[in-house]
Subunit: 715 residues, 2 copies
């Protein structure tokens, strides 16, 4: 595991210099000082501005050098052009961390980009942990550090809690900070990352994984920028059991275009992000509200041990709705034991439902203790991992019910979640005070719980793999001889000015990686073709061998099911003459004679390189399944076996592999090995390989292996 | 169009009797009176209860008969057993409408069901419009009628607006009423339908379609109960342009089970509900929050004319997120004209984005009028149908910005939607006051807008069809000779104790409905089989003809590609002997000899009967497409052509029909005619037909028609 940068000087500074500070409290340059004073920062504050002697009652210094103290954090609110000099002053003074609000860097074009490189170099040389530029700064609710112009602070003191928030947008990050607090999410830290000249998204995440008050990290992302760093910090968070919840935008083409024009960089395919999040245990939020809900559930004092959910409701309708959401999100509406049902019947009114969803009815208002007792009974059932309660209104009795819920929840080792529509404010306050996750409608608590349960299952699998020593090689490249040989073949093709390898070259590389291909001979004459066919055994397939013809079928360059030597000889001539007609300029190496493989299920396995995350492996059934139905699975390499098996099961056409309606089961184990091998190939050859498409790969019945019948490789 | 029941006496009563009224203000029986007095109901109130002389300062009458006035609405809060007598009193007194709170009817079993029938009969005989029993009553915010124990009223006077709310749950309906009001939805009427002994869901909807203050109808549904009535009221609402927005629960198996145990009835398949909603222009909300959001957008003063959306944002990140949601939901991020972009550049700061999404940046706070001017420019662009604005916080300037937005919106004919995160309360109040739809995050306004746009497109298509006279036959059955003949065949099979028709019988019925089948002969001997084959022309297909063998292939009873008379004769013997071995008891009618049809794309067309909505038609590609990939479309009959074409396009495998990758286009027109015919068949024979499965139906290349190769019909 990579060690995180130590950002204590940034997030827990003992002294703060405000460079460019102004007394205009509503201006960007005046807000940090106002917030620091208003909310009682305990360290030293040093305004620095040659234009003033005093700012907001504090002595103001003409320069950093004039400050008679060590400085942990400098807040820089100056025009872009003045930033390099200010940072040089910081370096000279030994300032440990800085945040630069100023815009006018990489986001405005070439000149800004150069200015950004300049400040990056100054910061790196001076050992300054740099946030920004072009950012809204950072804050610590715990240490009352407000090195930010985040206007959410104008609504009053922020709510403290165990969630750290990393945002790649200053404005949206500010609004989300405010709205999340309204939704009950308490923060310890918040940071706006800006242009990430020095510190990047993953650096902050890594720091918060190690920071002890942080239990959950939530983030807003537009572009991972450094894919490897994201993967590393995500694994670190997974290992530590601190959920990393990310709202990543640019999921659509229109959105990705807008993101590109906003950030100036192509962020890579969203589908690849999806795969990375899945493989590296990042919880993906699809919307702002879901981000808050996931943060809320993750801060629950107790996490569920499994998928079993008991639903308890004051309204039958809400019970149905919660069932719907459980099934939709993969939670299990637990089957309560006969003992539980009987015990419930003893306490519930006769018209209530004692099976799951348990409908306690409005009787719960009239009979104090009914909810409490029902909760205890249900929580004692071994099939129940979590209890989700639905309530609405209850102006008069709400506070009492909230107390009861909190008491039972605290005494239980299981997770208790509350969905409360239009709750009385006192009830809401009690539940939040007691750290019970509470949501405003019947669906949201269920969905959030499902997100947490899936995260925990993923983590469990990760830890099990790690314990079995299967996680060590992740990210490591094996390399060695096969890599060298493959590179040599690719280099030769490039030297010849070719982007696509010939089929024979591609298959040779596949074999280097243990991917079986049909036996074959290159024939340069009709006689040689006939002899090769005899040797391979009939039937054979014959294909044109030319570096210049990649669409062999279109060129009339493929003949299947050749059954005799005479037929093979005739096919040789025919294929060559068609190829010449198709492309008179094409260099023709001859005709490839191959054993004909039949009886396999056609699948395709491919690889390509993503701008952010490098090697990507795709898998799907052949033909219309991928091309028309878009039924395929995608992962980033390196892969491991469990993930490959999940990939296979993920496609809708999986029953065809597993043996559908008594059809033969296919050699799934061999297929999985080949997908793993393609992952290794794509990772080892990532410098050279643009695209690989094995299509079709034939998967034989169980035990029969697979064969790569055709392959296209672009370098 | 069916006329709606006149429910004015219920929702706009001039006098209300409270039967079983009590002075205990927090009790179910005391709440209506308290609410009526508290919120100033203007009509006459008559408490009726022999136990009191006076209730809450009003004279209390010993019986309805003693009330010296006509009574429009009676609120009945008595034990179930006392309800029949009370209703008889109502009838005697000429009371026009009543709502019965009392539980203990059909929801508690057989005895309750009888009691419910009793009160239904009394109400029908007495001409009483009856709400309930087992309901929470009803209310009118406009007329200050509170014939309900809905506790949302305890939070203060409800917000008035043009939305009528029909709820099949009393408790959840109450909480939703409260939460919707918190989300800014204003109501005119609210009704809890209870057990629907007399008035049903559709009656209320029909009434609100005709009620003039109502512009939008929102509803919570567990079970349509009367499918035909739902369809009729939905069409009526569509015609009137009053959006009917329904949250229907029980979408999952677990949820449906919970609903059954809650309501005591199987509500029919949720997928069928989805089809009905789609075909009859009901807007489906998937969650409580979405229900509120759709109600909010539908009350916007101006509806969009098309899909083009301009996005305007204070945060680049929120712009990306809104783009994502537009693309996801089928809205178009409008391409602004060069003139618009140029005009924007003139007013926006240089670092802002003048293309869509328009990023006005935080400069909007510093420069009064910037937002207003930018809005005007964008709204003038012809590609823009709606403008969605994103803002966050703005404690100091929010009210002014809200004013600006409201002014521009009022002056424009286009739709303006605001997504405002953590808005200052004054700003929110101004926007709501001015009827600007406002949502708390960047995504929700976009999703709601997409729902409205799709609804308007559906309505447009409906009105166009209606204008073209194509909507008249909906619901009408053609019947006639073919229906009679088909019924005769089915009756014969039933008389013989068979549930499945033979293939020949099924195909004869298909032909009656104009569905082509292969030419065929029934052969009762090997010689007859040979002769039939000669006559039909080779190759032929031969199949066992037995009313007792439905799985013909499994029984070894099918032979394809028979090329000579001798082969046909041999096949006859073989098929018969295999059939005898498979089922010695089976009655064998002989062997069916059919022309062999080849070259068609295999599809399946089916029909079945739904518990609520009757005839349902399904369509999909053959084999794995339906069975493994679940790629099929479903509609309720009767169908019309446009809907059938939409059905074809809906499946993911549609490119295979349309001609994929230069493959031949199939005879889609003929296929559509056949699906229409299956719809007619299913509707005309709904009394007799349980299930029809034409599988495969072969679809020939364009102009070549279709052939029903195999068909199973269950009666």
């Amino acid at each position: 595991m990579a060690t995180a940068p130590n950002l204590d000087a940034m997030f827990k500074p003992r002294s703060i210099a405000l460079v460019g500070a102004s007394g205009e409290a509503t201006k960007l340059s005046g807000r940090p000082l106002r917030f620091l004073l208003q909310y009682g920062y305990q360290g030293k504050i040093y305004p620095v501005n040659p234009r003033y002697e005093e700012v907001a009652g504090l002595k103001c210094y003409p320069s950093l050098a004039a400050v008679p103290d060590e400085i942990d954090l400098a807040v820089i609110a100056l025009p872009a052009a003045a930033v390099p000099a200010a940072l040089k002053e910081c370096a000279a003074k030994g300032v440990k961390a800085a945040t630069v609000f100023s815009a006018g860097f990489a986001e405005v074009g070439e000149e800004g980009r150069k200015l950004q490189e300049e400040i990056r170099d100054i910061a790196l040389a001076g050992g300054i942990a740099l946030d920004g530029p072009n950012c809204a700064g950072l804050l610590s609710v715990r240490e009352k550090v407000f090195a930010t112009f985040n206007t959410a602070m104008e609504r009053g003191a922020p709510l403290e809690g165990p969630v750290a928030f990393v945002s790649q947008s200053g404005a949206l990050g500010t609004y989300m900070f405010a709205a999340a607090q309204d939704a009950g999410v308490g923060f310890n830290y918040w940071v706006s990352t800006g242009n990430e000249a020095v510190l990047g998204f993953a650096d902050y995440v890594s720091y918060f994984v190690e920071e002890e008050s942080t239990r959950v990290i939530m983030a807003y992302m537009e572009d991972a920028r450094d894919g490897e760093a994201l993967k590393a910090c995500a694994l670190k968070a997974l290992e530590a059991g601190k959920p990393l919840i990310v709202l990543k935008v640019g999921t659509s083409e229109a959105g990705a275009r807008a993101a590109t024009s906003h950030t100036g960089a192509l962020a890579g395919s969203d589908k690849v992000y999806g795969a990375v999040f899945h493989q590296y245990g990042i919880i993906r939020a699809n919307d702002v509200e879901e981000l808050f809900d996931l943060a809320t559930i993750c801060t629950a004092p107790r996490w569920p041990r499994g998928r079993g959910v008991a639903l308890m409701t004051i309204s039958g309708g809400a019970g149905i709705l919660m069932c719907d959401r459980c099934e939709e999100t993969g939670l299990e509406v637990a089957k309560l034991s006969p003992e539980t049902v009987e015990a419930l019947r003893q306490v519930l009114p006769p018209f209530a439902s004692a099976v799951n969803p348990v409908d306690v009815t409005a009787e719960l208002v009239a009979r104090p203790g009914l909810l409490k007792r029902s909760m205890e009974i249900v929580l004692a059932d071994p099939a129940v991992d979590s209890l989700v309660i639905f309530l609405g209104l209850q102006l008069a009795t709400g506070a009492g019910l909230a107390q009861d819920i909190a008491e039972v929840a605290e005494a239980s080792e299981k997770t208790v979640v509350v969905n409360w529509m239009a709750p009385p404010p006192e009830a809401l306050a009690i539940l939040r005070e007691k750290k019970i996750p509470v949501f405003p409608d019947p669906a949201r608590g269920v969905r959030a719980l499902a997100g947490l349960v899936k995260y925990l299952e993923r983590r469990q699998r990760y830890l099990a793999r790690r314990a079995a020593g299967k996680e060590g090689h992740r990210g490591a490249e094996v390399g060695g001889e096969r890599q060298a040989k493959a590179r040599e073949i690719m280099a030769r093709a490039r030297q010849a000015g070719r982007k696509a390898l010939t089929e024979a070259e591609a298959k040779t590389i596949l074999e280097l990686y243990g991917i079986p291909t049909p036996r074959r001979r290159l024939a340069e004459s009709a006689a040689a073709a006939a002899a090769a066919a005899e040797e391979l055994g009939f039937p054979v397939v014959m294909k044109i061998a030319s570096p210049d013809i990649t669409h062999k079928t279109e060129a009339g360059g493929v003949r299947l099911g050749i059954k005799s030597a005479a037929e093979a000889a005739a096919a040789f001539e025919e294929i060559l003459s068609r190829a010449k007609a198709y492309n008179p300029q094409a260099a023709l190496a001859g005709v490839l004679v191959e054993e004909m493989v039949t009886g396999g299920l056609e699948v395709m396995v491919g690889a390509k390189q993503d701008a952010r995350f490098g090697p990507v492996v795709t898998f799907g059934l052949g033909g219309v399944f991928v091309e028309v139905l878009r039924d395929y699975a995608l992962r980033v390499a390196p892969l491991e076996e469990e993930e490959v098996l999940a990939m296979l099961r993920e496609i809708k056409g999986y029953p065809l592999l597993a043996g559908y309606r008594g059809g033969e089961a296919r050699d799934v184990a061999a297929l999985a090995r080949i997908i793993l091998a393609v992952g290794e190939l794509a990772a080892e050859l990532r410098e050279d390989l643009v695209e690989l498409d094995i299509n079709p790969l034939l998967v034989m019945p169980e035990g029969g292996g697979v064969k790569a019948v055709d392959a296209l490789m672009v370098v």
